[in-house]
């Protein structure tokens, strides 16, 4: 299903976006050495807003270096679940949670966690492109600047690298100082992807990343996402069942506030255990 990591990087001539290295040499050989097998993991996670329950008792591991698709009918709590993983819901009024979410074995709500560092490690791509009101180049390096992980001339290198990575470089290299709002929707979304990748996340959360894009752009983005594994782990919310089948290794089916089924994508689609899942993936529901 997914291309090998070496093949990806040599073929595209780019480096993988994994950072957080302690020993660069050993990490180059095995970047995941000494880490839990699951990059993220939720344990008995129950979410709600005020009196309204959204999700109850979701326990799900996310394997490192894979793409997990989150599918389910509208209102099943997919987006709420996704936004909880990088604590985007914390400030929403009435948000309540039980259970835990672990990143590399550590709770994302523990006092040890710096919220801003957490979000650097767990990035997010939104349903619609949301460029900032600054130049294309500044958009790419906005996060890098905020985290002060590069400066001066390095920023130009980062910008070029990431724009190359998402295949946008040739289209924008002559107008890096221009407004991003002149780009097409697909290009804007790629810019946002480059921006999210620039800070070197370990996990990328994608909330229906192609729902606002045309089929050609969609195919391009899907291709990119596949190429980014296994260096990057991803969780993708999607309404597009075809997309889930094409790009994900694991699929989670959420229905009516519960995690109904979770397994390898092929199995969930070909041999679903639950009738709800079967009805949904065969298009008879939702």
């Amino acid at each position: 299903m997914s291309a090998g990591p070496e093949g990806v990087s040599t073929e595209r001539g780019i480096t993988t976006p994994v950072v957080g290295a302690v020993d660069p040499i050993l990490d180059a050989i095995d970047p995941d050495r000494g880490r839990p097998p699951h990059v993220m993991e939720t344990r008995d996670l129950t979410l709600g807003f005020g009196a309204k329950a959204i999700l109850s008792g979701v326990t799900a591991p996310f394997a490192r270096g894979t793409i997990t698709a989150l599918i389910g009918p509208t209102g099943s709590g997919k987006t709420t679940f996704l936004r909880t993983l990088n604590r985007m819901n914390d400030k929403v009024r009435g948000f309540r949670r039980e259970g835990s979410v672990l990143l590399d074995g550590e709770s994302i709500w523990s006092t040890e966690q710096d919220l801003f560092t957490l979000r650097r490690r767990v990035g997010m791509l939104f349903q619609r492109p949301n460029p900032f009101p600054m130049s294309i180049r500044d958009n790419v390096v906005a996060g890098v600047r905020a985290h002060r992980i590069a400066k001066g001339k390095q920023l130009d290198v980062v910008a070029e690298q990431r724009l190359l990575e998402v295949g946008l470089w040739d289209a924008v290299k002559d107008r890096l100082g221009d407004s991003p709002f002149q780009l097409s929707g697909g290009q804007q979304q790629l810019l946002c992807l480059a921006r999210a990748l620039a800070i070197g996340p370990e996990v990328l959360l994608l909330d229906e990343p192609t729902s606002a894009l045309d089929p050609v752009s969609t195919e391009f983005v899907e291709h990119l996402l596949l190429q980014m594994t296994p260096a990057l782990s991803m969780v993708v919310v999607t309404h597009n069942l075809g997309q889930a089948r094409r790009i994900s290794h694991q699929t989670m089916f959420l229905y009516d506030g519960n995690l109904v089924e979770h397994g390898p994508t092929a199995q969930v689609f070909e041999h679903p255990v639950h009738t709800h899942t079967e009805r949904y993936v065969t298009g008879r529901m939702g």
Binding site: T15, V19, D114, R120, V144, H147, A150, Q154, I199, G200
Partner: protein, 295 residues
Amino acid sequence: MAVIAEPDRSAIRRRRRREVAFRVSTLVTLALVVGPAAWILLGVVLRALPHWRWSVLVTPTQGAAGGLSNAILGTLALMAGVLVVAGTLGILAGVFLAELAPVTGRRWSVTGILRSATDVLAGVPSITLGFVGYLALVLALHWGYSLLPAILVLSVMVVPYIAKSTESALRQVPTSYREGAEALGMRQGYALRKVVLRSAIPGVATGLLIALAISSGETAPLLYTAGFTNTLPKVALIHHPVAYLTYPVWTFYDYPTPAAHYLAYDAALVLLVLVLVLLVAARLIVARTQRHADR
């Protein structure tokens, strides 16, 4: 790869400190805005209340003492005049700018010039309007200190405001209303009156109320157009001076007698209540319409 470094601990701490400073400073600045507002309101009330006599409302001014009935009635007369003159002109101008003005792509269209003139007039200091009113209306036309020049000057002052608020209220009326009216075969003017303006009424009314609040609190344009008089307003547009509430505040606060001071404070209090009533009414209209609007 090498260009991206791990952020060091001190950088993270610096960012956190900056964030805390940001949050605290926004609240401090808000206190700096709201605090003085409360201080001013309390200051006026506390100066006026200890000596407050209800008779102030029904007694006319006598020299630098007495009451304020002449000024209260004068201010109400001025407001009524502004409502008629500026209300008509402002709403018509707003309707024109939003609905009727020919749309051209050119930068220097007639509409563009009219619109810019409205913006510029909105920024012209009111004292210069009073000055012109004095030179042209009071002196050159021999109207003397009187109601009409005062109303005209105040109206010129608030017409841009009413036009702008009317225009933006009309712009918020959904295009589908106009298309619906068109589909029913309504004529342009009829559709405007029955459909478009009707649904813009709350916005227009809010603008009018605020314009009235502004004009009732003005002093500079009135000093040299309305004059002042101890008698109640006469039913005459010209040749008879009119009293108004801001005059005693401006004139009597540094008179040597306590009675004059009290009159200044009383006038300030009455004026404040009047303005607050207008502003609260405007706010209530906004709140009501927002409740009915589908969001």
